[in-house]
Subunit: 268 residues, 3 copies
């Protein structure tokens, strides 16, 4: 087994043994799916957004995942408190700026959250990463108008400004931290036909960050596992309803051998 | 291929090629399903409800779908702003009065929304259409106590009052605009055992309205595609968990030939 | 057929014939699943939380299910009004204290709700039941750190204090009302890998309470049906994505013979 496959598998085993509690403040569309993906991987998910309790909840969690997909003022208040508390406690924070660039509100909230408590990992599609880097990228709602390679420079800039790992999802996923760049070519085009697969990638990154303090590695491993489980599912049946079901099964059934056989990782 | 099958297929192809952005303000129960149904059909869904951003979001969208299933004051505020803005911009608005007739709040909100910004299409079950037409129909929560044919007169009245297309869902779906009436006999009884199939019909109507400005046709085509995909799914396995999965697969795999073979459309 | 299997089947038949309207104020993660589980069993679900309408809605419903999984101030306001109204009208109330013990907010809200309107049935995992009984039990977010038998004494205390039925879910489910104790050994470990199976058990309890005023029996029957449908699903395919789908199919296809063959019920 290659070194990188082994490192991914070690993280998966740690997640399965430790079942880290992952605190999610995420959107209504994907709450069920991302909770199920975290469970299928071996983590223990919780969705908790009320300002009255997020600080206390983040304190008992192993990572915080914040996703602005269906944000409103109540959720934003919870996000701010949770992110600040997570930073103060040294818990990993993963941020998904869904749809940033589409509205002024999303842009403002994203900038406020970053300024208040810079996350350890930011994951988005190319449009989102470019918009977050201030490039006035065009977006199409929550979908990207660009391939992931178009956002590599934006990702490097974001990584430098906020001292964090940045993931650009796409046909190839890029994971960037300063000069470190990893590229994952796993995955399947049909994954774009299932809502919230990007949000699921973000949630799984939280689980890996809970067991691996090298967040560049954690994000890389999460994207690899996403892509491999996605292609396994798409090969079962090439249709989106089935993909969603088979993806969860594949995550649950993931083995070291499958990772070794399928991993398409390039590091530079 | 008959003319009407061809017209449905043309719309499906336009949706698949254009992937129109459909802005949904909908209920918590169905957000995942309706997003997945829109993706499976070929559209690009987004769920955005915050009053701070709905006006900006509707401006970049190709249609607005408003569904009051789990309404509360925050969502209602977003619905009002979005519907007014959509009307001002000439974007199609599709309205689903889930559970109207069950509570005074639902009745009041529905009347306020209609008065503020009459939608282009209203879709509901018989109880909802009758209640919305002021007939004091009995309802059973979000389920209808009547067959769809019982609501044809109510639908005609609604269509006349608000100058819009009205769809009554049921074993037969009726699409009504003034004197135009279409009836779709496709579908399967098991669809009533999966939550939110009506809401999905409404969301798909938004996608068809985004590519066909004859909203009577758009609504008719949406109901035909719903019914055909539903019966294909039910024939795969006659059980509700499987139906939800197979329905998405069927939408994704829909062909012109299947529409021609199965379409049960009567126009008068 | 044994007496207890017959009694379960009688309730199932009543649910299928009457399709009782079950009013749920529940969490965002499980709204779709619990609605679908109620439909698959034969009930008519509705999710309604707005303070403006819950009192009117509970009046037309046959049971109220309250679940604090993703509580916030808006939902809590709706829960209070709905529970008080249900009690005043003599409608059964089933309460699921998801994650109680994890935060002060959850503890306070739970105590407020119990004091305001003691429910007829409380269902939780061992950690939740122990926390609710004031035992300062450790929790891990929304997952239990204890087996269900560890919470039997806590359940008895809770049952006595609030004069209600208490269900502790786990590998064995305990149903307790004063001196009455039932134990259900049905189910499958994989059910813990699907989010919201506990919440679904609570929702189904609402359906059984709508047709059986002996709430101890209603809760016992609900847990038996959950466990049997869960093991049928897990035997179809031992993977969590498939389990969620097959569970709904199994609920829909449940027969008297299956219940008789599989029921593992001990009463004392």
């Amino acid at each position: 087994m290659a070194q990188s496959s082994q490192a991914i598998w070690t993280d998966v085993e740690h997640i399965r043994v430790q079942a880290p509690l992952i605190h999610n403040i995420t959107n209504f569309v994907v709450m069920n799916n991302t909770a199920n993906a975290l469970l299928a991987l071996g983590a223990s998910p919780a969705m908790v957004h009320a300002p009255e309790e997020v600080e206390e909840f983040v304190a008992i969690s192993s990572a915080l995942v914040v996703n602005i997909g269906t944000l409103d003022s109540t959720f934003v208040a919870g996000m701010k408190l949770a992110m600040q508390r997570a930073k103060a406690l040294g818990k990993p924070v993963v941020f998904d700026p869904v749809g940033v660039g589409a509205t002024t509100f999303r842009n403002q909230v994203s900038q406020e959250l970053l300024t208040l408590a810079a996350p350890d990992v930011i994951r988005g599609n190319a449009s989102e990463i470019m918009a977050l880097a201030g490039l006035n990228a065009q977006t199409k709602g929550v979908d990207s108008l660009f391939g992931s390679d178009a956002a590599i420079d934006a990702a490097k800039r974001l990584s430098s400004v906020w001292s964090c790992v940045v993931v650009v999802s796409g046909a190839v996923d890029y994971i960037i931290q300063g000069e470190r760049v990893a590229a994952i070519a796993n995955g399947h085009p049909l994954m774009a036909k299932v809502t919230g697969m990007g949000c699921t990638a973000t949630a799984l990154t939280g689980a890996f960050a809970a067991v691996n303090t090298d967040y560049f590695q954690a994000a890389t491993h999460a994207m690899a596992v996403m892509g491999i489980a996605g292609e396994l599912a798409a090969e079962q049946k090439s249709a989106p309803g089935s993909l969603q079901v088979n993806f969860l099964d594949a995550l649950h059934e993931l083995t070291a051998a499958t990772i070794t056989d399928r991993l398409q990782l390039t590091q530079s």
